[in-house]
Structure formats: C-alpha cells, structure tokens
Subunit: 256 residues, 2 copies
C-alpha cells in the first residue's frame, strides 16, 4: 500500500447558520469560494453546532419548567434548573452529577456532559439553548445524499462534537453522526505483521476523523465549522455504519 497522505482543509467564510438553511447549499457555495472541489472518497466533516442550528434545535428557556428531579440535580451541579430539565429530557440516565459536572447517557446512547446541550457560540444564549440534532446519523446521511447528487461523487460525512473523557483532561473531537463510511472498523480475526492475532480489534474511525477535523475547525467554533478531508485510505469506505455503532452497550458499560 502506498504511503497515504491525508489533507484537512477548513472552509473559510461560512457565515452564521440560521434555522432551515440548507447545509448542502452552504457547503456547495463554499467549495468554489475556497477553491476546493469534492472528489470520490472525500469526507465532509461538519461541526454539530451548525447542524443543530440548521435543524432549529433551539429551545427557549422561558418555556421550560423544571421538574422536581431537575431542581434537585441543579442544586447539586449548580446549573440552571431549566437547562438541567432539558438535559433530563434528552437523556436516559444520569451517570454523574457533582458540582459543575452533569454527565448523562444521551437518548442516542452517547455518554456526554449536559446531553451535548450547548449555550456557547449561539446567539441569544442568555435565553435559549441548542440541543443535539434529533438523529445525527440521519442528518449525516441526508447531507451526504444531497452533496453526492449535486456533485456526482461518492463521499462520507462525519458530524463532530467535542466530548470530555473519563480519565483525561480536555475535550477531543468525537463523532456523533456518520454516513458513507465505516464509523467503526472491525479488525477481528486479522493477523498482525508476525502472523499473530491483533490485540486491537476495533478502530473508532469516525472518532479519529472527528478529532482530526476539530484541530482545524478551531476550538471556539470560530466560524470554521466545515472541513474537507481528502485522502482517507479507501479501506475505511468498505462498509457503512452510523456513529451510534460507536456506543458501547449499557450491559457492557463498566463505568455506569
């Protein structure tokens, strides 16, 4: 196999996304403006926040009445009880709640702080919050399909978010939606270079792409929410799977 070169280019000049805007149209317009073209085997990485904005996943905090459980948890984690109520509505379980920290299992299975609900880099954050997309794998599949039809190519799409980790400081780009490529690559049964079974058996491909793309998006979501990834080794396109495949099942969770 020839030595692969991966190139990640953040799009410049993408303006604030507004509800009901077509991300496919925004990206289609931004490609030539950035002297870029979409080719077979490319991947478009998109920050969760712009997907949520396009899908109008805003919730006005004034319309949220916190229940007893939300008020109880809010007193512990010292967060706005209305925000905690939204977190609970988006979640299936509270994993940890201590001062300044509320980690839950999101209804999609992701274990994430605040159910991925965000108030940074959104307009009017004092009065509203932004939820994760309803179904980020479906959002990725839709965006992929629209771009493929428009440009006549076969591509992948990864929707990125920044997740904390149990034992490591700092957030890291992580995939919450994926289409057109293998989110998780299964290597079980393959031999290593000395003919022995591989220790590592599954690779979180979509998370590695998300981490790479996040490096060039800029951490403050500074208006570079779309990244073109070129040169991804073709073996990652063999089978498709969504980002929900990256979720470890509750029954296999050793850290509930």
């Amino acid at each position: 196999m020839p030595a692969p070169t991966l190139t990640l280019t953040a799009f410049a000049g993408i303006a604030e996304i507004t509800p009901q805007q077509s991300l496919a149209q925004v990206i289609a317009a931004a490609l030539p403006a950035n002297s870029l073209t979409l080719r077979d085997g490319d991947v478009i990485a998109v920050c969760q926040k712009v997907v949520s904005k396009a899908e109008n996943r805003y919730v006005e905090l004034a319309q949220v009445t916190p229940g007893a459980r939300a008020r109880e948890l809010a007193a512990v984690c010292k967060k706005d009880a209305r925000l905690v109520e939204l977190v609970l509505r988006e979640s299936t379980a509270v994993v940890r709640c201590v001062k300044d920290v509320l980690i839950v299992r999101h209804r999609l299975g992701f274990v994430v702080a605040n159910a991925g609900i965000d108030q940074s880099n959104i307009e009017g954050a004092e009065r509203r919050a932004l939820l994760l997309p309803q179904d980020p794998d479906a959002s990725a599949a839709r965006l992929r399909s629209e771009l493929e039809q428009r440009f006549g190519v076969r591509i992948g799409v990864v929707i990125t978010d920044s997740f904390g980790r149990a034992w490591r400081l700092g957030v890291c780009g992580t995939s919450i939606g994926c289409a057109g490529l293998m989110a998780l690559r299964d290597m079980r049964g393959r031999p290593d270079r000395f003919g022995r079974a591989l220790r590592v058996t599954q690779i979180a491909v979509a998370d590695e792409i998300a981490a790479a793309a996040t490096l060039v998006m800029g951490e403050a979501d500074e208006g570079r929410p779309v990244v073109l990834v070129s040169g991804l080794p073709s073996e990652y396109f063999g089978e498709q799977s969504g980002a929900v495949q990256l979720v470890r099942a509750v029954k296999e969770d050793l850290f509930q």
Copy 2:
C-alpha cells in the same frame, strides 16, 4: 485567520525497529526517501511501539514470576499470569478486572488496558511482551531535540498509542508523549463569538493530533509508524506541555 490546511503523510518503507536504533536517524533517512522535508511548525507523530522497541522495553516472560495478586487477577480476566504481573508492576491501581478486560492506572497516570503492554506486532510475542517507554514525554523531547538539531528547525513530537474509551467502542489514537507543543490548550476566560464565556475550556490537542496520525498509520501497525503533520495552526505551539498534562488527577476521577 486564514483557513488552515493540515496535511498528514505516513512514511513508507520504515523497517522493523531494533533495540538501540536511533529513531532520529531512522526518521532523518526516511524523510528524503519519502520526498519529504522537515519545516518549522511541523509535527512528527510516532507510534509508541517503535519508541518502545528502540528503547528495548521488551521483557522475557520466562523471567517473570507472577505473585499472588497477579495469579488472582489472571484467573478473573483469563490472561497469562506473567503478563498480569508485568501489568501490575507498571501500574498504581487496578481500575477494572473482568473476563478479557484488565484496565489499570499506569504509573504515568494513564488509565489504559493492560498498562499499554502489547504483544501484537512484535517479533517473538509468544515469549516476550513490550512495555510502554519508561518516560514517553522524555522520549518525545529527546527525539524532538535530535531532529531539531539535525535539520535546524523548530518542531513538535507526539508519541501515539491506541486507547479504548469507557463508553465508546473501538480504540482511538491517543497521545502518551508530547514535546514542543501544547498537549493541552487552556481556553479558560476566552469569550465565544457572541462574547459569552466558552463552554469548552481545555482542548486535548495532542490527543487530536494522535487520532489524526493514527488514521494514516494504519491500525495494524503495518509498518507506517511515523507520520509528518504539517500545517498545524501556530496557536498550538504557544506553550509546551507533556502528555502527562492530559491525565486527570486521581482526586478528580469520577470513574475510579
């Protein structure tokens, strides 16, 4: 800020690394062979395994006598008791031990399966195991210094490993050593694009670089253990910190 482009190129043709080989020499020879040059602001990502091999971190299993605790844990996780003994010697705490799974806190602080000890892709794996480098941040600093002197440039070095995660399937490239750049970028106190405090305050830069590099290294450590990363935004070079800075302190660990 102009739209950044990040380029990651895996070196072809790097042969099996043997103990006491100079990685700096190997990389220096591989650069022109791959038509690559090293420039200011580049980062060299190196897979842990070749660093450990160069540092002769092999241990002959025949020379390991498992103690009572190792035999006890080995019966639970169904691993070789001599390997478990090595894991315990490299660790400060056992985090989880169930069938097929032994997660520990490595003496450097990393929470990782089997203390990062590996038997895949090493020659003679039936009789020996390969430990993590003694001090991967020091290994990274040494490699950086040798390459900087040889090429007259300022660069970063990231040593990568593949770690599992608590709630997600698949391993993901992770940094266990870092020199010449910010392993962890602190954004606390910065405003977001609407003037509000950022939600995300610390970025695991070295982990994102490791994840990106791992995508082109190939998962089976197929002989592409070195990656040249060019175009990393300059803000990541502001302050230097080692990968140990990415370790969440035990007293802040909610998932012991």
